[in-house]
Every structure is written in C-alpha cells, then in structure tokens.
C-alpha cells in the first residue's frame, strides 16, 4: 500500500513537471541573472533563481509556484533553441587622429578586432556613429564625423558586411564622450562607435 502511494505520488510529480506551457529563468550568457515576471489574468509569479520554472497552463489560473526543472530536462526541451542562439553583439570605439580621418595608432588593435568580428559573423549587421571633438568650426566637425563614419563603414563592407545592413549616423561635436570647453582637442571624443551584431 505504501509503495502504491509512493508510485502514485511519483506519477503525479512527473505530471506536474510537464505542464503545457512554462517559463524557465536561466543565467545570463555573461553570468549573473535577472528576473522574470510571469502574469496571467489570475495573478503573477516572479522567478529570480536561475533554473526555476513556472507553469502557465490557463489564463484563468495563477502561474504555478516555482519549481526546479532540472538541467537535463531543460537541455532536452530547448536544445535546438540554444544551438540557434546568435552571438551577443559587440561594441567597439575607434579613436581618430586630430583633424583627420585616420585611425589613431592606439586604436589599431581594436580596429583589427572589429574587422575580424565582422568577418566571422554570419549575417552580420552593424551600427556606425561618427563623432568629433570641439576643435574647429561646428560645420567642419559635422563633416569630419561623417567622413570618419564612412571610413569605418567602408572597412566593414570590405570585411564582408553588405552596405545595406550598416546603419550610419554622424553627430559632429554634439555628443562628446567627455565634455570639454569649445576648441579643446580630446582624443576620447574623436571617435566612431561601432556595434556589430
């Protein structure tokens, strides 16, 4: 009799572990984890412990109390979704020689890394934003920040990203990384910010 009850309990437990719909919080790819809030018409459940799940089988029932789904089960159900996950985006800031559309020697390594990232990513797309420091007239800075952005875009195109997948913007001296007085040269503001996805 005891054995029957135990067996029955196990069956019920297994049943409870396989709801129709559920959400599982996982660790962030870069480590750490956030929270998810899962809500139905009848209530909500917060998951804040990686590996825990909540079931949402009906809109008319509150999400279940969290339970641990188990690494093997997660892998079994989501294996293909995991394999298909794209790489996280990468950001590069490339600095420029004063009054020139020329990459500063200090940024050469980052520039090379940016290109190798562009080469190795299938279906890569990018955002390129050009900036200038506050030396010289505003109009000239608009121009030079645009030319710097073009230069990075051209390099990315050479590295294999189709031009139509690159979004380009230029900000002149209007968005300094480091605020300065007018006409102050500042390497950290003479830059192009590149995001590769």
């Amino acid at each position: 009799m005891k054995r029957t009850i135990l067996a029955l309990a196990l069956v019920l437990f297994a049943g409870a572990c396989a709801p129709k719909n559920y959400v599982v919080l996982l660790e962030n790819p870069e480590g750490g984890s956030g929270k998810v809030l899962v809500a139905t018409n009848e209530g909500q459940q917060v998951l804040d412990e990686p590996g825990t799940a909540t079931a949402i089988d009906k809109t008319t029932r509150a999400p279940s109390s969290p339970w641990v789904l188990g690494v093997e089960k997660i892998q079994e159900v989501f294996a293909r979704a995991f394999t298909a996950r794209p790489e996280p985006f990468k950001r590069f800031t490339i600095y420029f020689v004063r009054n020139k559309v020329q990459v500063d020697p200090a940024s050469q390594a980052d520039f090379d890394q940016m290109l190798s990232e562009a080469r190795k990513r299938p279906g890569a797309d990018a955002t390129v934003a050009g900036h200038a420091d506050r030396t010289g007239p505003d109009a000239r800075n608009d121009g030079i920040s645009l030319l710097r952005a073009y230069k990075m875009r051209d390099a990315l195109v050479t590295a294999g990203i189709p031009i139509e997948r690159i979004e380009l913007s230029e900000y002149g001296e209007t968005r300094p990384a480091v605020p300065t007085a007018d006409d102050v040269p500042e390497l950290r503001n003479r830059r192009v910010e590149v995001t590769i996805r």
């Binding site: 979704a81 996950r85 794209p86 996280p88 279906g123």
Partner: protein, 163 residues
C-alpha cells in the same frame, strides 16, 4: 556656438524620422531546416542575413531552428515548430522610443535581452496564449504547446494587423 543648437535641432528632426515602418528591426543570424516569415499576408522562406520588420511572423518547421538579433542586441532563438510574432518594436534611445512586444503561439524560444532590457525593461514583453512574460534584464526560455489561442481569439498574428 549659436549654430550648435541649430545642428542639434536638425539632428533631432532627422532622428525623429528614423523609426519609419520600413526600417529593419533585426536580422536573421542562424537558420536550419525550414524557416519562413509571414509578411503582409505572404509566406516566404527566410535565411541568414535577411532583414526583419515589425509585424513579421517567424515560423520554424520540424527539426528546424532560427536565431535572430534585434537592433538593440536582444536575441531570440526558436526551436522546431515554433511560431513567433514580432508584434511591436522600437529602439530609438535618442527619442526615448523604446519597446518590444513579441508573441509566441507555440514551440520553444530562448530570449536574451539586449539594450532594451537595460534601458526600458518594463517596455519588453513576450506574450503566450496563457500568460505574459515581463523581464528585468534577463535570459529565459519559454515552451508553449501547439493548438492554443490567445485570449483575443487569434493565433500568433493579430487579426486586422496584416497587410
């Protein structure tokens, strides 16, 4: 210096036009097996490098998978027999236009939030037929059994939004 404010004004006017409906909101990064998009009522195959637009419905077949990266860096990857609607999407931090609403009507989905999850987590949601998932800068997976309807009676695609 007086010119600076004019430049800012012009740039912000330009910026205001950025979020037009014709702009891609993301791109396909991985695809295996049968992967399609339903756009303006027509179903067509979709492959690595293809652009995605607001209101696209992505579908994977048997033994198939699809991974996409949105403009803000959010990644969504779907396992087999998954249907995912990119319902609403805005990523224009300069204009404070931020938001993402997706719908999974069936299948398995891995979701890793990007900049939107950092800048405006409360504006990001993934809807399933039986509940809504909100997040605070996070990675989660969701599984939805096929054959369920959303409370408004639709499957993944919203009635009246097509075309």
């Amino acid at each position: 210096m007086r010119k600076l404010s004019l430049v800012v004004l012009v740039l912000s006017l330009l910026g205001a036009q950025v979020a037009s409906a014709a702009d891609p909101i993301g791109y396909v990064k991985t695809a295996t097996g049968t992967t399609t998009v339903v756009r303006a009522g027509a179903t067509r195959p979709i492959k690595v490098g293809d652009a995605l637009y607001e209101n696209d419905t992505l579908k994977t077949g048997l033994e198939s998978s699809l991974g996409v990266t949105m403009k803000d860096g959010t990644t969504l990857s779907a396992g087999p027999e998954t249907e995912l609607l990119l319902d609403e999407y805005a990523y224009a931090p300069q204009n404070n236009e931020l938001g993402f609403a997706a719908r999974v009507s069936q299948g398995t989905l891995d979701f890793v939030s990007g900049m939107l999850g950092k800048l405006a987590p409360e504006s990001v949601s993934v809807e399933t037929p039986t509940g809504v998932i909100g997040m605070r800068g996070t990675h989660f997976v969701v599984r939805v059994e096929p054959g369920q309807k959303f409370p408004d009676g639709t499957s993944a695609r919203r009635a009246g939004k097509e075309g």
